[in-house]
Every structure is written in C-alpha cells, then in structure tokens.
Assembly symmetry: C2
Homo-oligomer: 243 residues x 2
C-alpha cells in the first residue's frame, strides 16, 4: 500500500514552497493535480508521472489518488497555496475515510492571505478572517452573513475568488454589503498574480474597491478600523504603541 | 544602505520553511529575532552574526534592524510562523515608515492556523477566522466581540495563545462566550508543539475544550456547523457533496 500526501505548493513560484512540500513531491511516484497547478511544477520533475486533473473534478482526482495508493504508489496531490484552505485536504480525507484508508498526510503551504498580505505590507497582523466570494461551494446567503459578521468583529478580511467571468460584479456586491457597516474610506488593497510573474499591488479605499477591476488571479484585503497606509504599504498595528 | 527582510520561518523545523525564507537567511549579514526563534535556526548558521532579542522588546528589535541596515548590512528579522500574522512585519514597517526607510521585504511563512490544521485534518477548508486570546495586544472586550462575531458567521476558528502562566483560564472564558451561540457538541481539536518534536493532537467537543489543559505551545481549532470527525481527523467539507 502506498501513501498519499496532500501538498500545498504556495502561490506559484517553486521557491515559495516549503522544504517539506518539495520533499513530498520528490518522494512521490506520481503527482496529481488540477492542470494549472501541475503546470507550475512539471519542469522540475521531467521524469516523474504527472496526472493533470480537470477543473471541478475534485472527487475524481481524490479517487485516482486512492486507486494509485492502493496499487502501491506514493501519491502527491498538489494544491496551490495551502493544502487545507480551499484546497484538496478536505475532499481527500473525506474520500479516504469512507474507504478506511488512513495513510494521508497533509503538507501545509503559504495561502494567498499570507503571500498577498506580504506584498501589501502587514494588513493581517492580528486577528483576521478569510472569506471566498465564490458561490460555487458556499451559498451566497452564507457569504453575506460572513461578510457582515467579519465587519461586526472589526476583523481585517482577505477575500478570495473576488471575481470570475461567471461571477463579474461579486466584489461590488460584497463591498456594498460591507459598506452598510464600514466607512467609505476604510483602507483596502489588492494583489494580482501573487508570487508569479507580473505581481501587481494597489492600495485603495473600500469605496474605490467597489469599482476595482479584479479577476480570479486577484486576492483582496480589507483593513480593520486600525489599518492605515504608510510608506506605500498597508499596515494593521499589532496593538501596542510603536513610538 | 542594506536591506531588511522580515522572514516567517514556519512552525519550527527547518524544513517547514520556504525556499524563499531560507534564501533570505542565507543572503543576510545578520539575523535578528526573539531568542526562542533564533534558537531554531542557530545550528544552521554557525558563522553568521545572530542577535537574540528579548520578549516584548519588539520596538528595540526593529530599531536594531534599521540601525544595521543603515550601516550597510542586509538584515533578516525572523518570526515563527508567518511574518505578518502576529509577527514582526507590522512593527518593522511602522518603524521603517517613520524614518522613510523603504527597503523592507516581507517573506511569508506557514502560520500555526495552517500547520495545526494540517495535523488535525482539514478543519479550515473553507472560510475561517484567526483570533488570539492574548490580551497583551488586544483588549479583552475586542477579543470577546470577535469570538461572538466568528460564531455568528459560522466560521471555523483557529485560536492562538489560548493560555500562558499569566493567562490561565482564558480558553475556558473563550469557550463560555462561544457556548452562548454554539452547541456543546461542536467539533473541536487542538495541537501541541506543531512541527516540533513531540507534536500531539486531540479531538474533542466545545464543552470538553473548555476544560482542556493547554499552554502557550497549543493552537486550538473550533469547527463550523459543518465540521465533523472521520478517520480520526477533523474535516470541514469544502461545500460540494463527495459521494
């Protein structure tokens, strides 16, 4: 019986991966993942079997992993960012648990909330929330409830999946919901192509964010009441006074 | 003029670091950090100057970094976990901005929410919140407000700093607040010594968590309404049905 590692490869560049993640790929017999992610590591493993998965076929991918592991192969199932956060750890563990397969290791990685925050400065320096605007997996009512709760808690927020061609206008909707609770001039920022070629960042207010042009390669950050801009960076103070 | 990199080294083991983090340490002339973190990397840099910082002397550490950079040194300021999340990115950027020093890079790392979740399974598979129970940096009223908001939003929650010798009983207080909104049998778990020798995990209910014995080396996870236990792991489904 082989084993399965669900591996978060970070934002994209090979050096944004942890040594543990790289080791899990090195030690695998086969690497399985959504094709946009296998493309990121293919050149580094010219001699390894790599299986490209299709979008939304997550269950198929997990079953393929299980089948290969049962054939005695060590399998690495890769995800961008972290393995857990909107990643494959959850469906893989669900599929494995149903068949009583135990040997699944989760190898964490740097999720876009952290890598995007690092580009902007330190917007998530204290407590924070992560919310995806994709209603493919979560009903919009729940997303709306979470946005309002995050505003009530004065959390800095990282928004994933702010838009796609099927979900144009979702960021505007989210901003309109937040603007019921938060001021127009709340400090925000967003980052495109984190950790890949052509990384771009922009700082703005919440009112301006509402009209920002974003796509699926953008991660959005909304500050707390204490977040401010200094030296071109977005900063949420840790709490004590820096004099 | 030298440059400053604020580097998240991950949970502790050298292989939990990213290649980018390791590169930032390799390329530095001096490594500065709280002594518990410099201890983690010292053996790997026998020939490098390492400056041990004292607890709570964050501002001093940032000023030392700036002084060294102005003397022409490349400085790596290290944090455990991520550089931003409860890390030194925020105070360093504040100190640098006040003196007009621009050359500060933030190198993200795997924060305990991600590395701890990986040990437990996939509790943070969708939207989530991170909240610290330390009232050294955040007033308890704000922490309480955030706990209630997180429960209202049905977020899975990662709790940092659940206890210390000065703050015994804080986890119990937090659980009592959450139990106003959440059921006794809400699935929870906690992990001690993530990514270090002696990693231990435990799954429990929210009622049981209230009496759990935790210390400053523990990270606590509270599930959402959808979180369940299977195969000995804590799983929050991603949203679609795995059949």
């Amino acid at each position: 019986m082989g084993r399965i590692a669900v591996v978060g490869i970070g934002p994209g560049a090979i050096d944004a991966m942890t040594y543990d993640a790289r080791k899990a790929l090195d030690e695998s017999d086969v690497i399985i993942g959504y094709q946009a992610y296998t493309a990121l590591i293919r050149d580094h493993y010219p001699d390894k079997e790599i299986v490209d998965g299709q979008m939304r076929r997550e269950r198929e991918r997990c079953e393929e992993c299980l089948k290969r592991a049962k054939e005695g192969k060590n399998v690495a199932l890769i995800c961008s960012g972290d393995a857990g956060v909107y990643g494959m750890a959850s469906p893989m563990l669900e599929v494995a648990a149903r068949e009583g397969f135990q040997d699944v290791t989760i190898v964490p990685g740097v999720t876009a909330a952290l890598s995007g925050a690092a580009v902007l400065g330190a917007p998530l320096a204290t407590d924070f929330c992560v919310i995806s605007l994709s209603d493919l997996l979560t009903p919009w009512e729940v997303i709306e409830k979470r946005l309002l709760a995050a505003a009530d808690g004065d959390f800095p927020i990282a928004l994933y999946n702010p838009s796609s061609h099927k979900r144009a206008g979702y960021l505007k909707r989210a901003c309109e919901i937040l603007l019921k609770k938060l001021p127009d001039d709340r400090r925000c920022g967003y980052v495109r192509n984190i950790g890949r070629e052509g990384t771009e960042m922009k700082l703005c207010t919440l009112a301006e964010l509402s009209d920002a042009s974003v796509d699926m390669f953008v991660t959005v950050f909304i500050g707390s009441s204490r977040t401010y801009e200094a030296g071109g960076r977005l900063i949420t103070p840790r709490g004590y006074e820096i004099q």
